[in-house]
Point group: C2
Chain length 186, copies 2
Amino acid sequence: MQSNIHLALVHFPVYNKAKEIVSSSVTTLDVHDIARICRTFAIDSFYVVTPLKTQQELVGKIIDHWLTGHGAEYNPTRKEALLLTRIKNSLQDVVEDIRDRCGQAPKTVITAAKSYPQSIGYESMRQKLQKAEPTLLVFGTGWGLEKSIIQRADFVLSPIEGRSDFNHLPVRAAIAIIADRLLGNR
Amino acid sequence: MQSNIHLALVHFPVYNKAKEIVSSSVTTLDVHDIARICRTFAIDSFYVVTPLKTQQELVGKIIDHWLTGHGAEYNPTRKEALLLTRIKNSLQDVVEDIRDRCGQAPKTVITAAKSYPQSIGYESMRQKLQKAEPTLLVFGTGWGLEKSIIQRADFVLSPIEGRSDFNHLPVRAAIAIIADRLLGNR
């Protein structure tokens, strides 16, 4: 099933703990977890965004192992999930890749802690996603996406509220919850 | 905030890929991720269940590092999350620990692929959880909980349906989604 919904996990530009703009390291488990989440919720493609060649090679090796190596035989569900995974230098490259593939640049959707002019609720966003226009869900690693990415986004979702003031979900968990809110069959 | 809701991540008895009953290995990242999810959704306690002493020691070391070691200073939000974490030999020990602490054995809730006499929907379970009776959400690792645990559970939730026939979410992602469905503020 094709949904025309895409997801990017951004490792640059993001903040570190000291609020400096850095390139965060790829967590290999993120790649597996998020690929599985994307496959479950019929998200078309999963982009790992990092400008660092060594990190790109690492992700490439993971994908190769599970697509063509011993892993493909050992665990075919990993293969199936990782088939969706692509590696790009920058968010701009992701947008261009989607435009090339779909004939139209995607609307970008991010989550942020504050309210913005582009803020939208989960239910409204869920309805928008039915329309099959290309949409790119963008998630940051480290201590969050550099703020100009937020300012340029087409839509901004509120952060996930649990039942406490603790606001430190791993990005893997946030992506799972947001995919379910926007795309889950409940 | 106290919720009287508890969560257990079970490493024995679970199935392996060949459908044999085994004790799975603890994934250290599960401990961190699930502790954070529990803290976010005000789940009272997070039990890591394994009968293997070496695995219990491993989890104990992780907790110690972040509660009292260098980690406590470096990343206090990990400390805050891991404060909820307990290690037990068996699911029975978890139930007894909750009974000792709360004066009442918890109702147990699991998720399973099939329908059972105890099957319940997410919205109905969400309402039950408002009542502040002790409740234990039980999740299996590996290829799933041994079937007698399912048969003895008080309630059985349906598996998460995404938008595809792919049904291989990591347990971390399933816990995040189920916590949000049952306890999230949407």
